[in-house]
Symmetry: C2
Subunit: 203 residues, 2 copies
């Protein structure tokens, strides 16, 4: 898909990623969607810029002071969101570095789908209770990663200003779990259901 064929205005930005997922996303089965040609493995900078501008437009009145994401697939869209909002980006690290070791917030995230756990860390000197944080992530399925990020940011007594997701698997319980806790979730693409070769979006 050539982005130059699009006349990009605010409404179109929201739809751009939807059309990209339908054109270039590959549903392997009812749970696995490959987006490695434009989000995860190969990244299209112009698409990320438009995604970032859409998130920035959507959350511009929330007083955001920082954008946060979990390494590593969320970094590209989160960086472009932070650039559009003109605030810093916090990268929540999946394992503690030897260099970062004092005054660290830490939490364990367990992915039941993948059967794996990892430690998520955030250096205390990079966040304060004054911060209003927008969490950006590439996928929302069961909400384990987002919930871990929330837990970590709350340890610093900062405010979660919202959660921005590129692709939500709406047939899984992530959104409901986050909304039950009172968080606002904005997903650019919501997948109603999918299966080998078929992707159906919530319009």
């Amino acid at each position: 898909m050539d982005l130059s064929e699009y006349h990009i205005n605010e409404e179109d930005k929201m739809k751009l990623l939807q059309e990209k997922v339908l054109a270039d996303g590959i549903a392997i089965n009812e749970n696995i969607l490959k987006v490695d040609s434009f989000i995860n493995h190969q990244v299209e900078p112009e698409l990320m810029k438009l995604i970032g501008e859409d998130f920035a437009e959507h959350f511009k009145d929330k007083g955001i002071t920082k954008v946060a994401t979990i390494e590593s697939s969320g970094i590209a869209p989160a960086l472009m969101t932070a650039a559009a909002l003109q605030v810093p980006l916090l990268v929540l690290k999946k394992s503690p570095s030897k260099v970062l070791n004092e005054n660290m917030y830490q939490t364990i995230v367990t992915s039941y789908t993948k059967g794996t756990s990892y430690e998520l860390t955030l250096a205390g000197h990079l966040i304060s209770e004054e911060d209003h944080v927008l969490i950006i992530d590439d996928f929302l399925a069961n909400g384990e990663a987002a919930t871990g990020a929330i837990r970590l940011i709350r340890k610093a007594h900062a405010t979660i200003a919202g959660i921005g997701i590129l692709i939500e698997k709406s047939f899984q319980p992530g959104r409901a779990k986050l909304e039950e806790q009172g968080f606002y979730v904005y997903s650019q693409v919501r997948i109603k259901k999918m299966d080998k070769g078929v992707i159906e979006l919530i319009p």
Copy 2:
């Protein structure tokens, strides 16, 4: 450091990261430099944009078709470099995903400093022998990561157009190893030596 105090022209972009490292980098000892407040853990989008523009300016005549980096600290500057060059970014993954499994290039990278190994992977359908690839990474020390990236990209018979580094520890052998193999290395910051509280750059 407030970026707005800078009058940014081409010469200044090169110096910006140098001044940032001197102002906000923290040398822990003669080997460890903390840059987590502006590169690794908290990322300043405006700084990354200027870093990307400087790499793009430097490599603009090399016919670059793709930028590549190793997840995850290199993603932010590499994305901004790819954006400035208007080419896609390839993120070399540190472990094979369950989703990406056919037609994969793989290589093992061993970090002797850290005493760890990881598998670096690149999906074959994202690269071809026509590609001219600019490798961007945050640090160059012993050159193990860059050498791994080169090995992987060469498996696809693509051309290495150059290597762009944010911070080079010039007292370690990485640059020499890469130059011996015939690669051109451009580092925005070159550290001559450092120790607790002291950082000395190569001007």
